[in-house]
């Protein structure tokens, strides 16, 4: 029973690692996967070229949660920090694993029969 959820990717200078991890969990994600990456972007350099790497967060979440995280990340970091983010859709088994018990999967997704548009 595959359901379609969102995959949110956030790339950030590594100094913000703890803050962003906390933000992601606080806004309702059930987990995240973090990778140490290197990057080149418009800002070119990071606070400490030593710390060297950026970090990449990948989070499987419902669309609302993704939007909420994306919004807060944008608001708090986009202006002053080397942070970018994007969304893609992703199909998972066990959709409920990725939704905190308090909230519920939107019906379309829970049935595993998303409309044509949201399907990948």
């Amino acid at each position: 029973m595959k359901v379609t959820l969102c995959k949110l990717t956030v790339i950030s200078e590594s100094l913000l690692r703890e803050e962003i991890a906390e933000l992601i969990l606080r806004l309702g994600a059930t987990g995240y996967t973090m990778t140490r990456v290197e990057g080149r972007g418009s800002r070119g350099r990071r606070a400490s070229d030593f710390e060297g790497r950026n970090v990449k967060f990948e989070v499987i979440v419902s669309e609302e949660t993704a939007d909420a995280i994306l919004e807060e990340v944008a608001e708090r970091y986009f202006e002053d920090f080397a942070v970018i983010a994007w969304l893609t859709s992703a199909e998972v088994l066990r959709g409920n694993k990725f939704v905190k018990s308090s909230s519920a999967l939107p019906s379309g997704e829970a049935t595993g029969k998303p409309g044509p548009e949201s399907e990948v």
């Binding site: 350099r45 990071r46 606070a47």
Partner: protein, 319 residues
């Protein structure tokens, strides 16, 4: 002059130049991130341990004056740096205070290079100097951030936390504590790892530092002569001040010159992280270029031998 050349032809300085050369010829040489981090943990912890062992043998009251003077210098240097950078180098308030935070703090590698140069010049410094490094790391950054009159989120309090539990100060203090608690006898068994190979490991670190600094050279060119001059004047002025104060509080000539190098140095590990968090609007392009691209090589090549020479002269002049 001879001291200058003598100082330049040392494994440490040459390793730094080799690293810079690697960037200029576009070598694919690259110290893996993990190794770089491992080395910096090793160096900071080892500096602490060595200082701690020395402290175990130093009567506490011998530390009072030097520590007090160091704190004072840590408060003064960001102020001079801020005003020079604002008026002469024409930086705005935010960038001037961000850069001042770096001059208020201290570069551990400059410190170690100074210790080493002092020893080579026959003017060994006091063993407890690493304790002064730990003392000097923090106040300057705080003072400088006050100048900014703004700061993000948790602001100065967050930056202070960032600093004190930041890995560089944490390892330094931790090493000091362990060294002081255990004393020379119990530390004997870890000496072959933390003390003997220290300078060789430092060479590798400077190889990497040379590569990082070389990346800044383009920025230095763009920086304009006012910034470059500031990046040389500040360490010179602070360094002479530190050396003089060192003599006044009774340090040996070597110790006074090392204090000078510390005070004259600009941090590029602890300060950048703290400043980035507290003043994200300040440009790393400015403060990193100043501290790592200009002041660090200046001290390594010119500052340290000058402070040593001055310190020697002061010894015969002062009562």
């Amino acid at each position: 002059m001879d001291l200058l050349l003598q100082n330049l032809v040392s494994p440490i300085v040459l390793a730094f130049l080799l690293g810079a050369l690697a960037r200029w010829v576009k070598s694919d040489l690259e110290i893996p991130d993990a190794i770089y981090q491992g080395i910096s943990i090793y160096l900071l912890f080892a500096i602490g341990l060595k200082g701690g062992i020395a402290m175990a043998e130093t009567p506490l009251d011998a530390l009072v004056l030097p520590v007090g003077a160091t704190i004072l210098l840590g408060v003064i240097t960001p102020i001079t740096a801020f005003f020079l950078l604002k008026s002469f180098a024409r930086l705005d308030r935010i960038n001037a205070s961000a850069a001042a935070a770096h001059y208020g703090s201290v570069s551990a590698v400059t410190f170690v290079a100074a210790i080493d140069a002092a020893k080579s010049a026959g003017l060994p410094a006091e063993g407890f100097m690493p304790a002064l490094v730990a003392v000097l790391e923090v106040p300057g950054i705080i003072v400088a951030l006050l100048f900014a009159r703004q700061s993000r989120g948790g602001g100065i309090k967050a930056a202070l936390h960032e600093l004190v539990v930041g890995k560089s100060i944490f390892l330094l203090l931790g090493g000091l504590a362990i060294g002081a608690l255990c004393g020379p006898t119990k530390m004997e068994s870890v000496t072959p790892f933390f003390i003997d190979p220290f300078k060789g490991v430092l060479c590798l670190f400077l190889l990497e530092l040379g590569m990082v600094a070389a990346k800044r050279v383009r920025d230095v060119r763009e920086a304009g002569w006012r910034l470059i001059v500031s990046g040389c004047l500040l360490p010179l002025f602070h360094g002479l001040l530190g050396t003089l104060v060192g003599h006044l509080v009774g340090l040996s000539p070597g110790g006074a010159a090392v204090l000078g190098a510390m005070v004259g140095s600009a941090s590029y590990i602890a300060a950048p992280a703290a400043v980035r968090m507290a003043l994200p609007k300040a440009s790393p392009g400015i403060y990193l270029t100043l501290s790592l691209g200009i002041t660090f090589p200046f001290n390594l090549g010119v500052g340290i031998p000058v402070f040593l020479a001055i310190s020697k002269t002061l010894e015969s002049v002062l009562p």
